[in-house]
């Protein structure tokens, strides 16, 4: 008996197991498989030092991906996060290194700038109602120009000790940035599953017009999610430049691609309305493990680009397949 001959209820159940569970756990399963494979190809892979390095090198990617998840689950996209990081990074660094602002003030103003950049994206997306892909592509070019104009393509290094502490300080042996990342992930999960805002955000991504008809202020929601994305991107920037102890305008661009790929691999739907934080983090770690494992196996950076691109394509195809399958069941019902 093939699947088409089964009763509808059983088919629905199978589909539910096929897609929901598969989607939920695939990224975790693939992550484990990759770790086993790489541990066989390199004796250094499965060492505490290597694994802790993978986590510490990816904290800011996780923070950006969490920020991006707010926009994507709400049905939007933000391609400008990379150049937001570039702009926030050079401005914060210049305030500390060139203008000798106190660390707290430079960090505060840097985060305020990032939040404002997100707010601007949200304002444009919700006002002119153009596809957000185009809007944020355009704003990313603007942010890039401003970043290079301000920095004059200079590199800024040797931050004050207080700022470096963000990357090097520890609480109970755990680096500050790891603690910060965990706190942000927990808070984001809490917002998604326990708050009215999170609930409405998931609804908005599922059906924007129905959200409007249900009395939700769609415009305000959109502005808010891009602003949150800007805020988290700015926090991630602080972690990134603190770790590097240097920055210039080329720091940040490219992050949007990794965060976007990780989000989609981690189950955040490209069309909105779906996603969860644990899988999203697993998505970031999957890409990181892949990069690290390939490096240890002697594959170059360019080969990693190809693999990442193929993974993004595969994740989008899977996302689309899942949506079509759901529609088919609905039509048959």
């Amino acid at each position: 008996m093939n699947r088409e001959q089964l009763p509808l209820a059983i088919r629905e159940k199978i589909l539910k197991i096929d897609l929901s569970s598969l989607r939920k756990y695939t990224v975790m399963i693939v992550l484990v498989i990759l770790m086993v494979l790489f541990s066989l190809t390199s004796p250094y892979f499965l060492t505490w030092r290597n694994l802790s390095n993978i986590i510490m090198q990816n904290t800011y990617f996780i923070i950006v991906a969490v920020g991006l998840s707010f926009v994507m689950i709400g049905g939007g996209i933000d391609l400008s996060v990379g150049y937001q990081m570039s702009l926030v990074g050079v401005v914060t660094a210049m305030m500390m290194v060139v203008n000798h602002f106190p660390v707290w003030l430079a960090v505060f103003l840097g985060i305020l700038l990032g939040t404002t950049l997100g707010w601007i994206n949200g304002l444009i997306v919700s006002t002119i109602k153009v596809f957000p892909l185009i809007v944020t592509l355009a704003t990313s070019i603007v942010f890039q120009g401003i970043s290079y104009l301000i920095s004059r393509a200079n590199t800024f290094r040797d931050y004050p000790g207080g700022f470096i502490l963000l990357a090097r300080g520890k609480i109970l042996g755990i680096p500050y940035d790891v603690v910060l990342t965990i706190l942000i992930a927990i808070l984001a999960s809490f917002i998604y599953y326990e708050t009215v805002f999170g609930f409405r955000l998931i609804a908005l991504g599922g059906n924007e017009e129905a959200s409007r008809l249900a009395g939700i202020n769609v415009r305000r929601m959109k502005i808010l999610i891009y602003t949150i994305c800007g805020l988290l991107t700015a926090i991630a920037t602080m972690v990134m430049i603190s770790k590097a102890n240097t920055t210039n305008s080329s720091f940040g661009p490219g992050t949007e691609f990794i965060a976007l790929t990780a989000a989609i691999v981690g189950g955040v739907s490209f069309m909105g309305g779906e996603g969860n934080i644990p899988s999203l983090i697993a998505g970031v770690l999957l890409l990181a493990v892949l990069g690290n494992g390939m490096q240890l196996a002697g594959w170059g950076t360019y080969a990693q680009f190809i693999v990442r691109g193929v993974i993004l394509l595969g994740a989008v195809v899977f996302d689309e397949y899942q949506r079509n399958a759901k529609k088919k069941v609905q039509m048959k019902a």
């Binding site: 998931i202 609804a203 129905a210 009395g215 779906e274 019902a333």
Partner: protein, 262 residues
């Protein structure tokens, strides 16, 4: 103000660009009645009802709910006044379950500042709504994407009436349903009337209206033609009014009520 009428719309005008979709339309809905809204495609039926539900803003005209002037700027305003609408496409969220579809925009909350969802209470209330309206849905945790057309219609219905609504607007509710499901839905609409709801029913299926409505409101080219008492007309009378309008031969039908508000 006349409080026999739960809803009064007076001189409603609506333009879409250079096209006038509604031309000084008046409508009076009596308390506890089912009123059919009929008209050809483009007659302005959905536009008129969307103005009442807050989905569109009228360019001119006034709305009174229970005799009080209403300022309906958005769907939330209409909801707060006890007006719920079930849209033709149902406006459901396929990524959410039944309970969440019912409560979206009217979430039950707890905790400081009321920003936390009270999920336990929401699922309990959703269960009660499903039971009270004898809706054929097994659990409030079912995802609406996996439901039949009839079940989805029931969820939309439950959402519109779960919060002490006084007026329910239904836009082509039976259009996508089979004979059995349509019949069940008409039964549900009747029982909603018995529960005291006033119902505005947009449909192209005139027999549905003749089966359950008290009166029928006819629109043509964005203008009110007439309100007919269902007990005094037949299918052909309604169809003739829809096609010819009041001024071109449709006005031989016994006129029941028409108030001009100039």
């Amino acid at each position: 103000m006349d409080i026999e009428h739960i809803v009064e719309m007076k001189g409603i005008c609506k333009w879409f660009g250079g096209i006038q979709a509604l031309k000084k339309v008046d409508l009076e809905l009596r308390r506890g009645e089912i009123m059919g809204i009929v008209g050809d495609n483009g007659a302005g039926k959905s536009t008129l009802m969307k103005i009442l539900s807050g989905a569109y803003l009228a360019d001119e005209g006034e709305i009174y709910i229970e005799g009080q002037k209403a300022h309906i700027q958005n769907p939330q305003d209409a909801f707060n006044l006890g007006v719920g609408m079930i849209y033709q496409d149902l406006a459901l969220f396929n990524n959410l379950d039944v309970a969440k579809n019912i409560f979206i925009g009217r979430e039950l909350t707890h905790g400081p500042l009321n920003f936390l969802m009270d999920k336990k209470r929401m699922y309990k209330r959703a269960e009660d709504v499903i039971r009270d309206f004898r809706v054929d849905i097994k659990s409030p945790r079912m995802n609406v994407a996996r439901m039949s057309g009839g079940q989805r219609q029931m969820v939309a219905c439950a959402r519109a009436i779960a919060f002490q609504s006084k007026v329910l607007i239904m836009d082509e509710p039976t259009a996508a349903l089979g004979v059995t499901e349509a019949s069940k839905l008409l039964g549900l609409i009747r029982s909603l009337k018995e529960m005291g709801l006033s119902i505005l029913l947009i449909t192209q299926r005139i027999p549905d209206i003749l089966a359950i409505a008290d009166r029928v409101f006819v629109l043509k080219g964005g203008q009110r033609q007439d309100i007919l008492e269902v007990s005094k007309v037949c299918l052909d009378d309604v169809v003739e009014m829809i096609i010819k309008g009041k001024d071109q031969g449709g006005n031989h039908i016994p006129e029941v009520e028409y108030k001009s508000y100039g």
